[in-house]
């Protein structure tokens, strides 16, 4: 059984540290906000200029002037600050964000990431993703291990337009937690009920399987 989106978010959340500033991308990364341990304070940054993202508003609190980077209505927590896009990206590009979590179409053994465009098919734009991968020191990619048609997303070389080069070191998929070192994927943890052979079969780029591979605790 592959991990659910919530379980993938929970695995990423194990990396959260008390007092850290975190930027979450759209999709599975957004779910990480629901997994912050009770004894921990984490401040979420939304790149449209909100540092200290709160929960969705109640019907009465809805305010068109208060949205997140996914363009959805949000609230701000006590102690938050709101800045311009230039200031918001100074936080990102200046390396001030402690943890960045984002989705991807493909990642390769060089740490390259493709996440913003499928030529001739899907035109979305990179939004803030290129800034985030270029500026962050600690990045987690969350994505399914393979596409719906069974194509590996963990490649020897990305085939889609790149979002960034040599910037990804940690990946949580629905099957495994992997790190990238010396142009190889290293299998660090596997999902319960997922065999190592299954992971090997769905990983196109070179994969190192250490003697001990932990079962993910999610």
């Amino acid at each position: 059984m592959p991990l659910t989106r919530e379980q993938m978010a929970r695995r990423v959340a194990q990396e959260l540290k008390d007092g850290s500033y975190v930027n979450l991308g759209i999709g599975i990364p957004t779910l990480v906000a629901n997994c912050v341990p009770d004894n921990m304070d984490v401040m979420f940054q939304s790149e449209n200029g909100l540092l200290g993202v709160g929960p969705y508003p109640t019907e009465e609190e809805v305010d068109a002037d208060m949205i997140n980077a996914g363009k959805a209505t949000v609230t701000a927590i006590a102690g938050s600050s709101i800045v311009s896009s230039a200031d918001s990206f100074a936080m990102i590009r200046g390396g001030h964000i402690d943890l960045t979590v984002l989705g991807a179409f493909q990642v390769d053994v060089m740490g390259n990431i493709a996440s913003y465009m499928i030529p001739g098919k899907k035109v979305k734009g990179m939004g803030g993703a290129m800034d985030l991968v270029a500026g962050a020191n600690n990045i987690f990619v969350t994505m399914t291990h393979a596409s719906a048609s069974g194509q590996s997303k963990l490649l020897a070389e990305c085939t889609l337009p790149l979002t960034g080069v040599g910037c990804i070191k940690k990946i949580v998929t629905d099957l495994a937690y992997l790190e990238i070192q010396d142009k190889k994927f290293i299998l660090r943890e596997r999902a319960a009920d997922t065999s190592i052979d299954e992971i090997i079969a769905l990983t196109e780029g070179e994969l190192i399987v250490p003697e001990v591979v932990k079962v993910m605790d999610v």
Binding site: S46, E47, N48, G49, L50, P55, Y56, P57, T58, E59, E60, E61, V62, D63, A64, D65, M66, I67, N68, A69, G70, K71, A72, T73, V74, A76, I82, V83, S84, S85, A86, S88, F89, I92, R93, N112, Y116, M117, G120, V123, K124, G125, M126, G127, G128, A129, M130, D131, A134, G135, P161, L162, T163, G164, V165, G166
Partner: protein, 233 residues
């Protein structure tokens, strides 16, 4: 006093001087903090072959999407077009020229344009399609690409309050690109929800000083919400 009074009486006068082929920089993120009345005025006037610089391009029937639908835009410089089908169709069909620009780079290009900085080096986009053909320089072992500043014939922004001198205050996340956009227009037009007298805004709280603003107009904003998500209390 009149020398600094930026208030204009009509949308027509607010956008006077706009011509075909001009570059328009617009503030806003999604539909949040967009100068919706100034955009509607450009639609009404029908100016075409415009280059539009904005983070997004509205939705199919609101904001800059109106100009897209009306085929008034020749080129757009934006970071994200995900929610706009007209945009996606025109881009794939090749009827519109699109320069996808990373969001932080876009903000910095406007900021630099307004601050008289012609270009800057950034790591964002190095090794990607964005960096193709751009000068590369290495600092402390990391590669950076040279990005050029952007200025516009017009900048159109949306603020919450503005005084007659053009000092502006933005509300919540409707600030976004507006402060940078305001600095980068040869003519900057601000649409505000409320016009107040000079002295009513606290000087320490002003986001955009009036020096950047040429024209000010009060506009009734619909403030459409793109994604209304709520929780039960």
């Amino acid at each position: 006093m009149a020398g600094f009074d930026k208030v204009v009486p009509s949308l027509n006068e607010a956008m006077a001087g706009i011509e075909n082929g001009m570059t328009i920089i617009a503030g806003g993120f999604g539909l949040c903090g967009i100068p919706e009345n100034l955009i509607a005025e450009i639609q009404r006037v029908g100016t075409h072959s415009l280059t539009v610089v904005s983070n997004n391009c509205g939705v199919d029937d609101f904001g800059l999407g109106l100009l897209l639908k009306n085929q008034q835009i020749k080129k757009i410089i934006a970071s994200y077009v995900g929610e706009n089908r007209t945009f996606e169709q025109q881009m794939i069909a090749g009827t519109i020229d699109v320069e996808l620009t990373p969001q932080g780079t876009l903000a910095e290009k406007m900021r630099a344009g307004g601050a008289g900085i012609p270009a800057f080096f950034t790591a964002t986009g190095y090794g990607t399609a964005v960096g193709e053909g751009k000068e590369i320089r290495e600092y402390n072992g990391k590669n950076y690409i040279l990005e050029e500043a952007i200025t516009g014939d017009f900048a159109i922004v949306k603020a919450w309050k503005g005084d007659r001198y053009g000092n502006l205050v933005y509300r919540h996340t409707a600030q976004n690109f507006n402060p940078m956009a305001a600095t980068a227009g040869r003519i900057t037009v601000a649409e505000v929800e409320e016009i107040v007298e000079p002295g009513e805004l606290d000087p320490t709280q002003i986001h955009t000083p009036g020096i950047y603003v040429d024209r000010l107009i009060q506009g009734n904003a619909e403030k459409r919400i793109e994604q209304r998500l709520t929780r039960t209390a």
